[in-house]
Every structure is written in structure tokens, then in C-alpha cells.
């Protein structure tokens, strides 16, 4: 029996006076892929960044309501660095650090106190394998990560996120900066990952949502309008606005 990974209750979020999320309520199941869709500016990135408290870095950002991860309040008495170790994140644009491939992957484990060379080697190899980029990089681990192609860089960033053995993987439009071949590699990768990780992905591409996600949430102007099984949402949307969006009538 699967259980809820995240439980969101009455989540409101303001950037100074602008309310970017309005009363969001949802339960996200563990070891599933959940997709967030919706027109530009509707708050998808905002919500996903709230889930590992990356919004703390934004000045003037306030959140009210409850977000529980495995029953624990993420705004409560919790170490935010530890939270982010449990909830990894992959960004829209690949952002490898300007260092070697090896050091990119080893940065996370080192951050969390792993220094033994053998252990690090093991983590680096496993993460790169899990992110399906081991074969391409195993001979150039000491070379700069900036020399990789865009698609490779993004898979490296996924490997980097996996390196600290997170439970959840947040991905904000991870393929929007990539070519179709790299995109399909990453989609395959996400499907492989979902048995082990809870994946939450923001996408603009509805085909992508149908291809890889189990559940889909549709957002509009900061509200979560509809949330359900991906097939149901795309074949029989309950809400008129959602139907308009997926049939391309607006957005």
C-alpha cells in the first residue's frame, strides 16, 4: 500500500504583496511521478520550489498553510539543509558547477560528511549510472563538467541530485532547454527512477506529462484547478478551464 509523501493544506504564498499561490491542497503519493502543468506564470515553479524551501532564498516571500513531508512539517523544527538532502532538485537550465565531473557529483556527499575516497568513488559511479550517463563520462571524470553537451549536463545534474540519495526529486522543466534526443533520454530516465524515488516534475509539454506521469495537477493563476490520474485528467477533465487548456483553447 503506497502512502502520501507530501500533504499540502491551505498553502498560500506571497511575493511581497503579490499572491502567487492560493489555497493549494493536495496529497502527493510516494514513488510516483506527479506532473504540474498550467500556463506561464500560474505558480508551478513557485510551488515546486516551496517543497524544498528554495523560496527561503527569495526576499519578501511568505508562506502560510501546512506542508508535511512524511507527516513532518517542513516549516517546523527541521534543518533546512537536511530537508534539501532528502528532497533533491533539478533545474530548468542545467547548472553544473564549474569543476570536474567527479567533483560535481562528489560535492553533495562531501557536503554531508562523506570523505572516504572509496565511498565517494562508489557514489559517483552509482549516481552516474543511475542517471544513464556513466558510459559517456567514465573516461573523463576529471575533466570540466562545462565541456559536456546540454543534454549531458542535465543528466549530470540529475546524477548530482541523486548523489545524496534523496527520497524526492523535484524537476522544474528539466527538458525545456534540450534537444528532442536528449529529452527522450531524460524521459526514459525519469521512468526508470520512479520505482525508487518520488518524482515531481513541472512541464509545459502536455505530451511529456502524459508519457511519464502517473498523476497530473493543473494550475491556473496560483490556484490548483484540477488534480488526478494523468489519463483521467487528459481524457475526461472535470473542470472547464482545464479542458480548455489541454485542448489548446487558451494558454
Amino acid at each position: 500500500m503506497r502512502k502520501n509523501k507530501y500533504e499540502l493544506k491551505n498553502v498560500d504564498l506571497w511575493y511581497s504583496d503579490f499572491q502567487a499561490l492560493k489555497d493549494v491542497n493536495m496529497d502527493i503519493m510516494e514513488k510516483e511521478v506527479t506532473a504540474f502543468i498550467g500556463p506561464s506564470g500560474c505558480g508551478k515553479s513557485t510551488l515546486i520550489k516551496t517543497l524544498n524551501r528554495m523560496n527561503d532564498l527569495v526576499e519578501g516571500c511568505r508562506v502560510t498553510g501546512k506542508i508535511h513531508l512524511d507527516g513532518q512539517d517542513i516549516f517546523g523544527n527541521i534543518n533546512v539543509n537536511h530537508l534539501r538532502k532528502r528532497v533533491g532538485m533539478v533545474f530548468q537550465k542545467p547548472n553544473p558547477f564549474p569543476m570536474s565531473i567527479y567533483d560535481n557529483i562528489a560535492f553533495g556527499p562531501r557536503t554531508h560528511g562523506i570523505t572516504a575516497k572509496l565511498k565517494l568513488d562508489e557514489i559517483v559511479e552509482k549516481s552516474l549510472r543511475d542517471a544513464a550517463i556513466w558510459e559517456e563520462t567514465k573516461d573523463r571524470l576529471k575533466k570540466s563538467a562545462l565541456g559536456l553537451s546540454g543534454g549531458q549536463q542535465q543528466r549530470l545534474c540529475i546524477a548530482r541530485a541523486l548523489s545524496v540519495s534523496p527520497e524526492v526529486l523535484l524537476m522544474d522543466e528539466p527538458t525545456s532547454a534540450l534537444d528532442p534526443i536528449s529529452t527522450s533520454k531524460i524521459e526514459d530516465l525519469i521512468s526508470d527512477l520512479k520505482g525508487d524515488y518520488t518524482v515531481i516534475i513541472v512541464t509545459h509539454n502536455m505530451q511529456q506529462a502524459t508519457r511519464i506521469s502517473d498523476k497530473t495537477a493543473f494550475f491556473l493563476l496560483g490556484e490548483m484547478v484540477e488534480f488526478g490520474k494523468t489519463e483521467t485528467l487528459f481524457s475526461m477533465p472535470k473542470d472547464k478551464r482545464c479542458e480548455d487548456y489541454i485542448t489548446g483553447r487558451f494558454g
Binding site: M54, L57, R62, T64, G76, M89, F91, P96
Partner: protein, 732 residues
């Protein structure tokens, strides 16, 4: 969402501790400025307000600080002096600089650019003593001969030299603001059928105006703050001058301080500090002007309609070529100097004999070129022989044989109140310059108009400015090539192995100890300045919230610090480190003074390079659960290292080239220093001292070569680093 509250364990948390460390380093900049202000104002203001009187101080025209009875402390001559030479530098340097910038940005063939660009950054790094030396050896004698003056150390010489010195600043900043103008503007103009020249001058230059104005303001700052170079060519007479007295010597505020701070005490020292306060106020005003100008550039679009900055191209650009033509025409147009051979002389001044100074009243008459009578303190003396130069108020070396006192004496006379002239074999020629100054002015103005007319007649507007741009570039290249070429041609043959012995002796003025002292001074300074500078930049960029008041204060403070001329740092260093803390002339007094001086530079470059690190790196690190400190040290700082290094290298350049701030803090001891409290002469100071000693000209030339080589090395390192930064950017 709950706000973070401070818990007990936070206090011992490394993140928390480091945050405090960064805040503290940011506070040091504020503290340093506070300290400088406190010491300058606390000692300068009482002198101005209670002892001298503000009106008397600012508008007083006489400066006799050491007269036993009724000393006078009027600094108006120095204020005017600073204004004159700065204005002169602007008149000479700015048109040439802007046109050269246009040339480099828009008209320069690539091969020439590749040569010109490094040349200009080289000249930006050449220490002021080297410029001063060049002025002293080339410009001053040239003016003396060309204009038939008794001394070439004049307002004109100073303006020309400062004009050359501000060229690199004006050119570099103007060029980059010209390059920043979007190509669409140019294309738009060309699409309307404008020629290349026209598009550049009517569209691109006006679009870049705020950057160009900022360049001019920075040039003004550099000129008004310059000390050593001015000291070496200005003549330094503390006398009132009119704006057209361009062939007279004068004294500026900066030189007033450096000339006398070594021996001043009591009210005299306080009056010098007060001079520093006035200079400080000038610099703050310039800074305000600068920030207003740069602010305006942000609001450019708003004002674009209201202020249209039309350059009266015909006049300004025409001026340059006219100036050149004018200078060429002067000899033909100017009437020969007024020479008369009869006059009454009344001299109030001083005669220095050995270490003794006397202030007798000397008066007499000269008829038909012969000294008829000469009274010293009312006692008639018979001169058997008197030779030398006398120039309004300046120290003149002369030899007078006085019968009655017996024997021949060398003495230095400070003469004022009469015209200049020379005495050869008892023959006196008194030369009146008033007519001549006006001739020079007329010559130049005439030349300007002739130049404009000529070129405009031949070529029309486009051709005119095109020709002028080329001429400006030619002048720049010539002036800069001349400076470098002179040093190399005269200096390289003067190099000898003896100059690199580890001991300095009276017979062998070896520069090796100074080279070693310079290296130690650089290290000692960076040891203090880099941690504080980098730490405060980290605070400003990584920790402080946007719009934080404290951040604003720090920014203003660093801008102020950055604009203060080095002589003010030197003065502060002397009264605080040397005297108040009683460190004496010492390595640490010098290096702390320089640390405060380079702090803003390191802060600013570090800030820029931290800001240039993409936020994506920080996000990536935070998303992996890394804390702030780890993110800053492992991700952000490594990515910013090349930029920070570039800032450090720039600071090294400033330290190596500094003289005014070191003379009276680190002192001038010529040996390798023996400890933190021993006095140490750096290479630039060494060069300055040698250049003042007529018997060590060769060694001075040789030192200039070594300084030049140091600058070249520093520049190559920094362009190597800049190349790395650029390469990194392009792979992103």
C-alpha cells in the same frame, strides 16, 4: 511560515560565526573612513575655525606658515592652483582622450588596436613619479626653450603632463561606454544614409554621453588628486596666479601638503591637515557629481528628450588641431619678451646658508644691467659677483660673492615681489611676462580658429572630425610612445649590475633594497587588505539583503574611500600610524596606510566578480543541502577567483606605483628593512628621491625602466587572468 529564531546553539554555529566575521569586515571599511574623517577633521577643523578663521584660510592669498611673527595661512593660491591645472588637464586631455576613444572603438584598424590597447593599459599603470620624471626631463626644458622662459616648471607644463596622465582613464572608460551602445542605433543611422563618421559622432557618441562624462569626472578626480608628478613640474610657488599666467609656476593643494608635511608642526601641520580637509571636500563633491551622472545614465531614456547633449563639434574638436597649430604658430606671433635692464628691486625673502635661514629685507636698484646698490637689512653691501636666476618667488640657486663678509658663498634665495630675470656676470636682464602670456594665449586661440577654418574649408564637417579623430589618435600614440620610448632609451643604457647590489651606499645608490622592500610592502599590504576586502564583499553580495540601509552606507563609504587622493591617505597615515600610534616611519605604518587605500579597490572588484557568478550555481548547491558557508566557499568563491585575482593585481600595481602615501609613513630609508618597525623605501619612493638629486639622474632613469618592467609584468598577469575570465564566460 515560521521565521527563524535565534537559538543558543546558533551562537556557536560556524555559519553564525562566519556571518559575524563577514559583517565585521564590511564594518572595517566604514571604520577606516570614520577614522580618516575623524583624524583629519578633528585636527584640521579647529585650525580652520578657531585659529586661522575660515574666511582667512580659504580666501587668504598669502602662505607664510613659518614666519615667526604674523605667520599667514591663506590657501587660496593652492585652491586656485589645483583648479587651474585640473582645468588645463581637462582642456588638453579630454578632447584628445574622447576622440582617441572614438577612434579605438569605431575607426581603428585591428592591427593598430592590438598595439594601442595594451599601450594604454600600460600607461594607466605607470607610476606618477615616472610621469613626473618625464615631465621634469622633457616637458619642462622643452617649454623653457620653446617659449624662452626662465623656468619651464609652469602651469602649462603641469597641465600638459596631467593631460597626458588622465588620457588612459578617459580613453578606457569612454571606449567601453562607446562599445556598450547597441549596434541597432548605428545601423539605424546608417540606414538613413548617414556616413560612418556621421553615425558615430551624431548617434553613438551622444548615446554614450553619460559614460563619457563619467570618464571626464574620473579624469578630474585623478588630476586634482595627483601629487608627485605635479610636485616635480609645477614650480611649487605658493603665490596667487591668474588663469592666464600659464607660464608661471604654481602650487596645488596636494603639493602644498607633500612639500611641507615632513617638517611641519603645531599650527603649520594643522593648516596642512586643513588643506587636506578642503581637498577631501573637493573630492566628495566630485564623487557626488559622478554618482549623479551615473544615476542619470540609468534614467537616460526618461531624460533623453529633455537633455539633448549636442557636442559643439566644430569648436571642441577643432580645438585640438588648433592647439597643435597654435603651439607651432606661437613663436612667430608672439612678440619677443620684454627685456629691460633697469629696475628697482625689493626682495623680501630668505637666504639659506647651509642649514641656516635668514630673512633679510633686500632692496636695491639696477640700472643699465648693473646692480647699482644692494641693501640687506638696511646695510649696504658691495657685491663683487652675483649670478643666477631669479623667478617670481621660487627658490633660485645663485651664488653671490659679498665683499665684506669675505669669500664666495652659495646660497639659495627666495625672492618675490619682482619680475623674473637672470643675472649673468652682474648683468641683469629683467623679463616681464605679462605681455608674453597674452601673446601665447592669442597664438593658441588664433591657431585654433585657423585650424578649424582650414580643415573645414578643405573637407567639410565629416572630413573635419575624421581628420581630427586621426590627429587625436596620433597625439595619444605620440605622447604615450614618447613617455615609454624616453624611459627605455635613456634608462636601459643606465642599467648596471651595481644597481642590483644588496647594499645601498652613498657611492652606489643600489635599487635592490628598494625592490625587496617593495615586495615586502606589497605582501604586508595585501595580507591586511585582501581578507577584509574579500570578506566585506562576501557580506555585501551573499549575505546582505537588497535595499539594506547598511549596505547603502558601505557603498557610499567605499566610493568615498576610492576617490580620496593618496596624499590624504599619506597625511592620515602619518598623523595616525606614525605619530598617534607612535609606530614611527615603518613598514607597518606604510602597509596599513596602503591597506586602507587599496581596500575599496579589492572590495569593488570582488563584489563585481561575486555578482557575476550565476545564481544557478548557488541554487544547485543549496538544493543539495549545502549550507550558506559551504556554498560560498566551495562554489561561489572558486568561480569568482579570477575576478578577485584581477582586483588584487590592480592593487599590487597601485602599491608598486605609490609614492605620496609612503614618503611620510614608511619613510625613505634606503636599506633592506629589518623588521616591521623599520623604515623602508619602495622603488617608486627611491625613484622620486633620485630624480630630485641632480647627481643621480642616470640611476633615476634606470629605476624608471625597472618600474616600467614591473608594470608590464603586472599588466601581463592581469590580462592573462582577464583572458581566462573571458574564456570561462564563453564556454558557459
Amino acid at each position: 511560515m515560521k521565521r527563524r529564531t535565534l537559538k543558543a546553539e546558533d551562537i556557536f554555529n560556524i555559519e553564525f560565526i562566519m556571518r559575524i566575521v563577514f559583517i565585521l569586515s564590511a564594518l572595517t571599511a566604514v571604520f577606516a573612513v570614520g577614522l580618516i574623517c575623524f583624524f583629519l577633521f578633528a585636527r584640521g577643523l579647529p585650525a580652520i575655525f578657531f585659529e586661522i578663521g575660515p574666511i582667512k584660510f580659504i580666501t587668504g592669498t598669502e602662505w607664510y606658515p613659518r614666519r615667526v611673527e604674523n605667520p599667514l595661512f591663506g590657501i587660496l593660491p593652492m585652491i586656485l592652483g589645483s583648479i587651474y591645472v585640473t582645468a588645463g588637464a581637462i582642456i588638453i586631455g579630454v578632447p584628445v582622450g574622447i576622440l582617441t576613444a572614438v577612434f579605438m572603438a569605431k575607426m581603428c584598424p585591428l592591427w593598430l588596436y592590438r598595439f594601442l590597447k595594451p599601450l594604454i593599459s600600460l600607461l594607466a599603470g605607470v607610476p606618477s613619479v615616472v610621469y613626473g620624471f618625464f615631465g621634469m626631463m622633457i616637458i619642462v626644458p622643452w617649454l623653457r626653450d620653446a617659449l624662452n622662459l626662465t623656468s619651464g616648471s609652469t602651469m602649462l607644463a603641469t597641465s600638459i603632463l596631467l593631460g597626458i596622465m588622465i588620457l588612459p582613464t578617459v580613453i578606457t572608460i569612454s571606449e567601453s561606454s562607446l562599445r556598450a551602445v547597441p549596434d541597432e542605433l548605428y545601423e539605424g543611422a546608417v540606414a538613413l544614409g548617414a556616413s560612418h563618421t556621421r553615425a558615430v559622432y551624431r548617434v553613438i557618441l551622444p548615446a554614450a554621453k553619460s559614460g563619457v562624462l563619467a570618464a571626464v569626472v574620473l579624469g578630474i578626480g585623478r588630476a586634482i588628486g595627483e601629487t608627485m608628478a605635479v610636485r616635480m613640474v609645477a614650480g611649487n610657488q605658493a603665490l596667487m596666479r591668474a588663469p592666464w599666467d600659464i607660464t608661471e609656476g604654481l602650487r596645488t593643494m596636494t603639493t602644498n601638503i607633500i612639500l611641507e608635511m615632513g617638517y611641519a608642526d603645531g599650527l603649520h601641520l594643522e593648516a596642512l591637515i586643513a588643506t587636506g580637509v578642503v581637498l577631501f571636500v573637493f573630492i566628495v563633491l566630485i564623487n557626488v557629481l559622478f554618482s549623479v551622472l551615473t544615476k542619470k545614465s540609468e534614467k537616460e531614456s526618461k531624460f533623453a528628450g529633455k537633455f539633448s547633449f549636442k557636442i559643439p563639434a566644430d569648436v571642441i574638436y577643432g580645438g585640438i588641431i588648433g592647439l597643435v597649430l597654435g603651439m607651432a604658430i606661437i613663436p612667430n606671433f608672439s612678440i619677443a619678451p620684454n627685456i629691460s635692464s633697469s629696475a628697482d628691486i625689493s626682495i623680501s625673502g630668505a637666504i639659506v646658508r647651509g642649514n641656516e635661514m635668514m630673512s633679510p629685507n633686500i632692496s636695491g636698484t639696477i640700472t643699465d644691467g648693473k646692480i647699482e646698490s644692494l641693501n640687506i637689512d638696511g646695510v649696504e653691501i658691495v657685491t663683487t659677483r652675483i649670478e643666477g636666476l631669479f623667478i617670481n618667488g621660487s627658490f633660485v640657486e645663485s651664488s653671490i660673492e659679498l665683499s665684506g663678509e669675505g669669500g664666495r658663498e652659495r646660497s639659495v634665495m627666495l625672492i618675490d615681489g619682482i619680475d623674473s630675470g637672470e643675472i649673468v656676470n652682474g648683468e641683469v636682464r629683467i623679463i616681464s611676462f605679462y605681455g608674453k602670456n597674452i601673446d601665447v594665449l592669442i597664438g593658441i586661440i588664433l591657431g585654433i580658429f585657423l585650424g578649424i577654418l582650414l580643415i573645414k574649408l578643405i573637407t567639410g564637417f565629416d572630413g573635419l572630425i575624421k581628420v581630427m579623430t586621426w590627429i587625436a589618435a596620433f597625439i595619444t600614440i605620440t605622447a604615450m610612445g614618447f613617455v615609454i620610448g624616453y624611459i627605455l632609451v635613456r634608462g636601459v643604457p643606465s642599467l648596471s649590475l651595481d644597481l642590483f647590489r644588496f647594499r645601498y651606499t652613498a657611492d652606489n645608490t643600489s635599487m635592490m633594497p628598494s625592490v625587496i622592500n617593495t615586495a615586502i610592502m606589497v605582501l604586508a599590504t595585501l595580507l591586511v587588505a585582501v581578507p577584509f576586502g574579500v570578506g566585506s564583499a562576501i557580506y555585501l553580495v551573499e549575505y546582505a539583503k537588497r535595499g539594506n540601509k547598511f549596505v547603502k552606507v558601505i557603498r557610499i563609504v567605499t566610493e568615498t574611500l576610492a576617490g580620496i587622493p593618496s596624499i590624504v591617505y599619506g597625511l592620515f597615515g602619518m598623523i595616525f600610524f606614525v605619530v598617534f600610534l607612535d609606530w614611527g616611519y615603518s613598514l607597518i605604518a606604510g602597509s596599513f596606510t596602503l591597506s586602507i587605500m587599496v581596500l575599496p579597490l579589492i572590495m569593488r572588484t570582488t563584489e563585481e566578480s561575486l555578482k557575476a557568478v550565476p545564481d544557478a550555481y548557488r541554487e544547485g548547491s543549496f538544493a543539495l543541502g549545502a549550507g550558506k558557508l559551504r556554498t560560498v566557499f566551495m562554489i561561489v568563491l572558486p568561480a569568482a577567483i579570477p575576478g578577485i585575482l584581477a582586483g588584487i593585481i590592480l592593487s599590487v600595481g597601485r602599491i608598486v606605483g605609490e609614492t605620496a602615501a609612503l614618503m611620510y609613513t614608511a619613510g625613505i630609508a634606503p636599506q633592506i628593512l629589518r623588521g616591521p618597525l623599520s623604515s623602508a623605501r619602495t622603488l617608486s619612493v627611491h625613484m622620486f628621491i633620485l630624480s630630485g638629486e641632480g647627481t643621480h639622474r642616470e640611476q633615476a632613469h634606470a629605476t624608471a625602466v625597472i618600474l616600467l618592467i614591473l608594470v608590464i609584468v603586472i599588466n601581463s598577469i592581469s590580462s592573462f587572468i582577464a583572458g581566462k575570465v573571458a574564456a570561462k564566460k564563453s564556454t558557459k
